[in-house]
């Protein structure tokens, strides 16, 4: 008699991860803050005029790279409704769209910044915070909990400070902070992730921007599901920001919102913010199953992706 092999599987023991539709590149055409809005529509038009040629260059470069020139490129635009609330979607969105159209730019997707903190009941920022794996300074052997300052994240070892000293023991003098991956000299970065007061926690702009990048790279899951799906625009825009979906699809013919890579065209004033974003992103541990999914898809298309997330993100910084 031959031995019998029994196969047994249990649904709860297996893990399923939804996959996101993916473009080749997601181009961020701009980021609107209260001060930009207050400066009037001309400021916006000026910004779009500067962005347009870069967006076109990126589009052309992907067309050249993909067989048959069938590059999937989507564009997006982020409006800050988290740190300050101004105007209403019904008033503001048409103005933005009009300014873009004047510069021959199509905005495919419009997103609200507060969605990066919480979208459709899912606390995205918390999901990402839980996935931070701190960059260990030399000498970190696992025997002690990682050194953290609540609400902060850095790329090295902070200057030691006071702390408990034993009686009749010697106290330590000042020592400089150090970057872990330094090449002789350090560029030490310490990023505030959030602060809190009586109303609760407020996430910092770089932290939300890091969540934003991860969303655009299609790398966030909640219980294996995609936490945010773009919602097609209705006939009109609501009078309240909370009624606007997290991500609105403005262009019905648009390529998918998430993409293998991202490009952000930004003013140089965002340079420090993006350094902070990269400091955060280089310490986010994305679900290995999700990474594998994306790598398999891109590999199947003959488009190898860099292993490291931060290498999938590009910028163009424009002077004032």
């Amino acid at each position: 008699m031959t031995p019998a092999y029994a196969a047994f599987g249990e649904v709860e023991a297996e893990r399923r991860v939804a996959s996101a539709p993916l473009s080749h590149v997601s181009i961020e055409l701009g980021h609107l803050y209260m001060e930009d809005f207050q400066a009037g529509p001309e400021r916006l038009r000026e910004q779009f005029r500067q962005v347009a040629p870069w967006a076109e260059t990126m589009r052309a470069s992907w067309r050249a790279r993909v067989p048959g020139g069938r590059a999937r490129v989507s564009t997006c635009f982020l409006i800050d409704d988290y740190f300050s609330r101004f105007s209403t979607p019904s008033e503001l969105v048409p103005m933005v769209l009009e300014a873009a159209a004047e510069c021959d730019l199509t905005i495919d997707y419009l997103a609200r910044e507060s969605a990066c903190a919480e979208a459709d009941g899912v606390k995205l920022a918390r999901l990402v915070e839980d996935r931070l794996v701190t960059d260990p300074p030399p000498g970190t052997d696992g025997s002690r909990p990682p050194v953290t300052e609540t609400g902060w994240l850095c790329n090295g070892a902070r200057s030691p400070y006071g702390g408990a000293v034993q009686a009749m023991g010697s106290a330590r003098g000042w020592e400089p902070p150090a970057q872990n991956a330094k090449r002789r000299h350090s560029i030490f970065v310490d990023v505030e992730l959030w602060d809190s007061d009586s109303r609760g926690r407020t996430w910092s702009c770089p932290f939300l921007a890091a969540v934003w990048q991860l969303l655009r790279l299609g790398l966030i899951r909640n219980d294996g599901e995609l936490p945010v799906r773009p919602v097609p625009r209705g006939p009109s825009f609501p009078a309240n920001w909370d009624e606007l979906p997290a991500v609105v699809q403005l262009n019905p013919a648009a390529a998918p919102f998430s993409a293998y890579t991202t490009l952000s065209v930004l003013s140089t004033r965002f340079l420090p913010v993006e350094l902070a974003v990269r400091t955060i992103l280089s310490q986010v541990f994305v679900d290995a199953a999700v990474l594998r999914q994306v790598a398999d898809r891109s590999g199947g298309e003959g488009i190898p992706l860099p292993d490291e997330l931060v290498d999938r993100i590009s910028y163009i910084f424009l002077g004032a």
Binding site: D135, P136, P138, T140, L309
Partner: protein, 311 residues
């Protein structure tokens, strides 16, 4: 190939076993990630994988200074709603650069530690296996144990454990079979202070099932160790029957039904378990202890019946 890990095992700090429904809350160490459970042949729940960054010396038998950078992969699990384990492991790889790279490089390789310079597998394997007393060297046990602490501190547990017990430590090293070196095999050593070491030579290289196997072995070693202590403390033959039975009761209530070696393991590991069953003979010893416990309880029951005038 060189994979090293440590499993720490202890009693979940709750009065009774926890139901499967509570496992999600107790082991949900990562928001947005489900705790995976399986019910047959015993309820088993495991937390999502956790990563911890390290940059430190690796213990080596020759005391050479070996520096490694990378991430440790850890998870916590609860078996039978009763036994908690914290498990961590890493794979050793040679670094391609001679200096430390940006952290994103290491994060893209979860569970891998890159060592600067040549990797001398036997040196590192021997070093890790007896790295107990070493300071400032990679400490996988503490990493896993912190996740155990998080679980034990869960407000869902009542902290009223039915008996006291020490956590055990199983340190394991797995290397690939190589021509000219020792063949596939397993070596299990009982050390001092509840430290055990396990050395595996694997014919087919590393798979995640190796971790399952080590955790399963650690679980059963803990069960055996714990039952031995309970039986020893019961002072069979010296203390009164009632005292003996009272001391043995927690074992009957909480431990005896948990023995299920190799229950969830891949068939490839069956020969390894079989080897351990021959020597040291885990199940033999367990069954003999269980028989002793049951006999004591039975004798006491008979005595009570007789006193009560039953016969």
């Amino acid at each position: 190939m060189l994979v090293m890990g440590e499993v720490r095992t202890g009693l979940l700090q709750n009065s009774g076993e926890i139901p499967e429904s509570l496992c999600q809350g107790v082991l949900g160490l990562l928001s947005g990630e489900r705790v995976r459970t399986s019910r047959r042949p015993i309820v088993y729940a495991v937390s999502p994988d956790q990563l911890t960054g390290v940059d430190c010396r690796l213990a080596s038998a020759s005391r050479a200074r070996v520096r490694g950078v990378g991430t440790v992969l850890s998870r916590a699990s609860v078996t039978g709603g009763r036994v908690l384990q914290g498990s961590s492991h890493i794979q050793v790889a040679r670094a391609e650069s001679d200096h430390r790279l940006s952290w994103s490089h290491y994060l893209a390789r979860p569970g891998v530690i890159e060592v600067f310079g040549k990797v001398r597998v036997p040196d590192l394997a021997d070093g890790f296996a007896d790295s107990g007393g070493w300071n400032d060297c990679l400490d996988l046990g503490s990493v896993g144990e912190r996740f155990m602490d998080v679980v034990q501190a869960s407000p869902l547990l009542d902290r009223k454990a039915p008996f006291r017990s020490a956590r055990t430590r199983l340190r394991w090293v797995a290397v690939a079979e190589e021509p000219g070196r020792e063949g596939p095999g397993i070596r299990f050593t009982l050390g001092r202070d509840r430290v055990r070491t396990l050395r595996l030579v694997l014919p087919d290289g590393f798979t995640p099932d190796v971790v399952d196997f080590c955790e399963d072995l650690a679980l059963h070693d803990w069960l055996l160790t714990t039952l031995l202590v309970i039986v020893e403390r019961a002072r069979v033959g010296t203390a009164t029957r009632a005292e003996v039975t009272a001391k043995l009761a927690p074992a009957v209530d909480h431990l005896l039904h948990l023995w299920m070696p190799a229950a969830r393991l891949d068939d490839d590991f069956a020969p390894l378990w079989e080897a351990l069953e021959r020597r040291p003979g885990f199940t033999r010893q367990w069954q003999s202890l269980v028989a002793r416990v049951r006999d004591q309880v039975a004798i006491n029951t008979l005595a009570l019946l007789r006193e009560a005038g039953g016969w």
